[in-house]
């Protein structure tokens, strides 16, 4: 029983950390730009495919792929914000949703054209393929690595937003766009910067997912983005702390649900989301870290 409980916890935490990487960028973009970006999952997918390409065809190191892939996605993010999103900031929400959804479809087709429609099994990452015994059962070293990376990213984001000059500017623009502009903040450039940064976070999640999921498919972003949306809603739209705790919670809930209440596993997350929306529609942590 001990063995089982420990491993259910470990599986939940490592899964949660993945959702966090994707959800962090999503909530950051929403918090500052007020855009619900459907295409966030596409950044995740592109990050994964570009990292894989570095690994497979360019023959470079996986770690270099983790750096290069997401950087390339930053370019995509830049183009999308600068030339597409900027046109619809002042329009109603449905226009944003339609536009970002269109980007999802375009990205999926592009991936099909460039990498083919089949699923691609990703190669094992040298040095991280092994497992360690934890209370009598193997646990992959790579998952432990992810469990370290997640909190590190959270810490770095917190430091960036709370302690740096950049963070102050970003928070200023998020809370009052006009006032920030009036005191000389170049809001459009700031928006581009935050969007590109959010895209980078999602792509980083995708690149790191390559050895974890072990598989690349068109549409892999959509599977992830649903969980990320749920996490962002539960945690409070725009709240990073909420997204972190929400992701951890969803990861654990899925893991425990699958093991102990298998009949409900698919619904638990959505039941939770429903309860949060009814009881605290602004989310657990909305406004706390603003």
């Amino acid at each position: 029983m001990m063995e089982s409980l420990v491993h259910v916890c470990l599986a939940g935490i490592s899964a949660g950390m993945f959702i966090w990487l994707v959800a962090s960028g999503l909530t950051l973009i929403f918090g500052v730009l007020r855009v619900l970006n459907f295409a966030h999952g596409s950044f995740y997918m592109l990050g994964a495919y570009l990292c894989y390409t570095c690994l497979k065809f360019l023959g470079i190191d996986f770690w270099l792929g983790v750096i290069v892939g997401p950087l390339a996605v930053c370019v995509v993010g830049y183009v999308m914000e600068r030339y597409l999103l900027r046109q619809v900031y002042d329009l109603e929400l449905p226009y944003q949703l339609l536009l970002t959804f269109a980007v999802v479809l375009i990205a999926d087709e592009l991936v099909k054209i460039i990498w083919g429609a089949g699923s691609i099994g990703s190669p094992t990452v040298p040095g991280l393929a092994g497992s360690v015994q934890i209370v009598g059962r193997n646990f992959p070293v790579y998952n432990i690595f992810i469990m370290v990376i997640g909190p590190l990213v959270a810490l770095a984001l917190w430091a960036l937003l709370e302690k740096s000059w950049w963070g102050r500017i970003i928070r200023a623009a998020a809370s009052d766009r006009e006032m920030a502009a009036a005191i000389g903040v170049r809001v459009p450039s700031l928006y581009t910067g935050v969007f590109v940064f959010g895209a980078w976070l999602s792509a980083l999640g995708g690149a790191l997912a390559v050895p974890y999921v072990g598989l690349l498919t068109t549409g892999m972003g959509e599977a992830v983005i649903i969980n990320a949306f749920v996490v962002v809603v539960i945690g409070g739209l725009g709240s990073l702390k909420g997204a972190f705790l929400g992701a951890l919670f969803i990861g654990l809930l899925n893991s425990f649900g699958t093991r102990f209440i298998p009949a409900l596993d698919m619904f638990l997350t959505f039941i939770l989301m429903g309860v949060v929306l009814l009881w605290r529609p602004q989310g657990f942590f909305a406004g706390v870290d603003r």
């Binding site: 063995e3 089982s4 491993h7 259910v8 599986a11 939940g12 490592s14 899964a15 999926d108 099909k112 083919g116 429609a117 089949g118 699923s119 691609i120 099994g121 094992t124 497992s131 059962r137 193997n138 646990f139 992959p140 790579y142 999921v213 072990g214 598989l215 498919t217 068109t218 549409g219 892999m220 959509e222 599977a223 992830v224 899925n254 893991s255 425990f256 649900g257 699958t258 093991r259 298998p262 596993d265 698919m266």
Partner: protein, 429 residues
């Protein structure tokens, strides 16, 4: 649409002509010229094909297309079907039933398809069957496996327009039980898809294995929803139950993910007997490459190294030349579908549904997968696909089937009238 029915006399006449033509041999009298002169079939033969071309399983659609297109090219290069050009349109079926229905309506009402083929998911197949019955067009199912399609829709409800060329769930549930009965394992568990296909195969496996080997125990089941990317919670459930054998019809990309994660968790050190009814799919074998463990039991709807016949070898070679891929099982079923249509149309000299049904019922077809016979009662193609143990072969960059076992279709496929235990294996004769 009002189409004149064929008269009895014409039918006899054509039958005689066919007999004469085949007696003379193709060298003397090419059927192309003969049929070109027959006024019965007007215009091109149009096949509406649908398969999943978007989302995570888009790769399957591409492989359907490769097989179907190759058959189309071969058939048209050799003079078409009864002298008529074969035309095909391929549409994305996604995996949702409404999309499949829309495609069927479009194909028949707007595009004026003579025949329909494809369909990946069991849910889609069951939704589409009554509609093709109403629209009165032949539908050859090339991938969806639920036995309910042929047992209930075709046999019990009498929707005679539906045929299936691929192996059904009998191959995944019943045949797997025949393999399992000879293994030392007495406790079994499953990680299966949390939808119709997963439920029905696990039930069938338990039922049949329970009869073949009384005393086996089924100790755990964990159900993975469609789109699962993290199988660790499921793997934990199974490892807690400590079974000797694992059965799983998790398929395509999800199977790749599950195998990798199970390997990392050391599951195959503890569970020695693993049965993967759809593990012999090319996307899985190529996707896993050397990471697929040895000595895992796998099967599929077709495997390119079986049968060891000249026809199959030639086909695989041609396929590789044309597409630079090994054929997936859906490529074979799509390819053979076109030739089944050709054979049926040329046999009855018509593309009218009623006559095609008669021609297809009981028809034998020599295909890359071997000889198929469309069973008259339920329209299920009877043919054998092996089960085999994964093994390393230096000739291939992926694992192939080493030791093979064939459970003949007639022994492991349920039989009409699909009522009670007498219709299910094991059969006395």
């Amino acid at each position: 649409m009002d189409k004149p029915g064929i008269k009895r006399r014409d039918f006899v006449k054509m039958g005689l002509l066919t007999a004469a033509a085949s007696a003379l041999g193709t060298g003397v009298m090419k059927p192309v010229g003969l049929w070109a002169a027959t006024p019965k079939i007007k215009g091109p033969i149009k096949v509406g094909y649908q398969a999943v071309l978007s989302g995570t399983l888009a790769g399957y659609g591409e492989f359907h297309k490769m097989g179907a297109l190759m058959a189309l090219e071969e058939i048209n290069a050799a003079g078409g079907i009864a002298g008529n050009k074969l035309e095909m349109e391929v549409r994305d079926s996604t995996l949702a039933a409404p999309a499949a229905l829309q495609n069927v309506r479009y194909f028949v009402d707007s595009w004026e398809a003579d025949l329909l083929a494809g369909v990946d998911s069991s849910g889609q197949a069951l939704a589409v069957a009554p509609v093709v019955g109403q629209l009165d067009r032949i539908l050859m199912v090339t991938h969806a496996a639920t036995e309910k399609l042929t047992e209930d829709e075709v046999f019990k409800k009498g929707i005679k327009q539906v045929f299936r060329i691929c192996t059904p769930t009998y191959q995944d549930g019943n045949a797997a039980a025949f393999v399992a009965k000879d293994l030392p394992a007495t406790t079994w568990a499953t990680i299966n898809p949390k939808y119709e296909y997963g439920f029905t195969t696990w039930n069938m496996f338990q039922d049949t294995l329970g009869k073949l080997k009384p005393g086996v125990k089924f100790v755990a089941d964990s159900w993975a929803p469609f789109g699962t990317t993290d199988f660790r919670p499921h793997i934990n459930t199974i490892m807690d139950a400590k079974p000797e054998g694992l059965y799983s019809v998790v398929w395509a990309g999800e199977l790749i993910t599950m195998m990798k994660q199970a390997q990392q968790a050391g599951m195959f050190d503890k569970i020695k007997y693993v049965l993967l009814p759809v593990g012999a799919a090319m996307d899985v074998l190529e996707g896993l490459g050397p990471e697929m463990p040895d000595n895992i039991w796998i099967s599929g709807r077709y495997f390119f190294l079986y049968p060891d016949s000249p026809q199959n070898k030639e086909w695989v070679a041609n396929f590789r030349k044309r597409w630079n891929h090994y054929p997936a099982y859906v490529s074979e079923t799509a390819y053979s579908t076109m030739f089944a249509f050709k054979k049926a149309i040329e046999a009855c000299g018509s593309k009218e549904t009623a006559q095609l049904i008669t021609a297809l019922e009981g028809m034998e077809l020599d295909s890359p997968a071997g000889k198929r016979v469309f069973r008259k009662e339920d329209h299920q193609a009877m043919y054998d696909v092996p089960w085999g143990l994964t093994a390393t072969d230096p000739k291939y960059p992926f694992k192939i089937m080493g030791k093979q076992v064939v459970i003949p279709a007639k022994e492991c496929f349920n039989r009409p009238p699909f009522e009670g235990d007498a219709s299910k294996p094991p059969f006395k004769s």
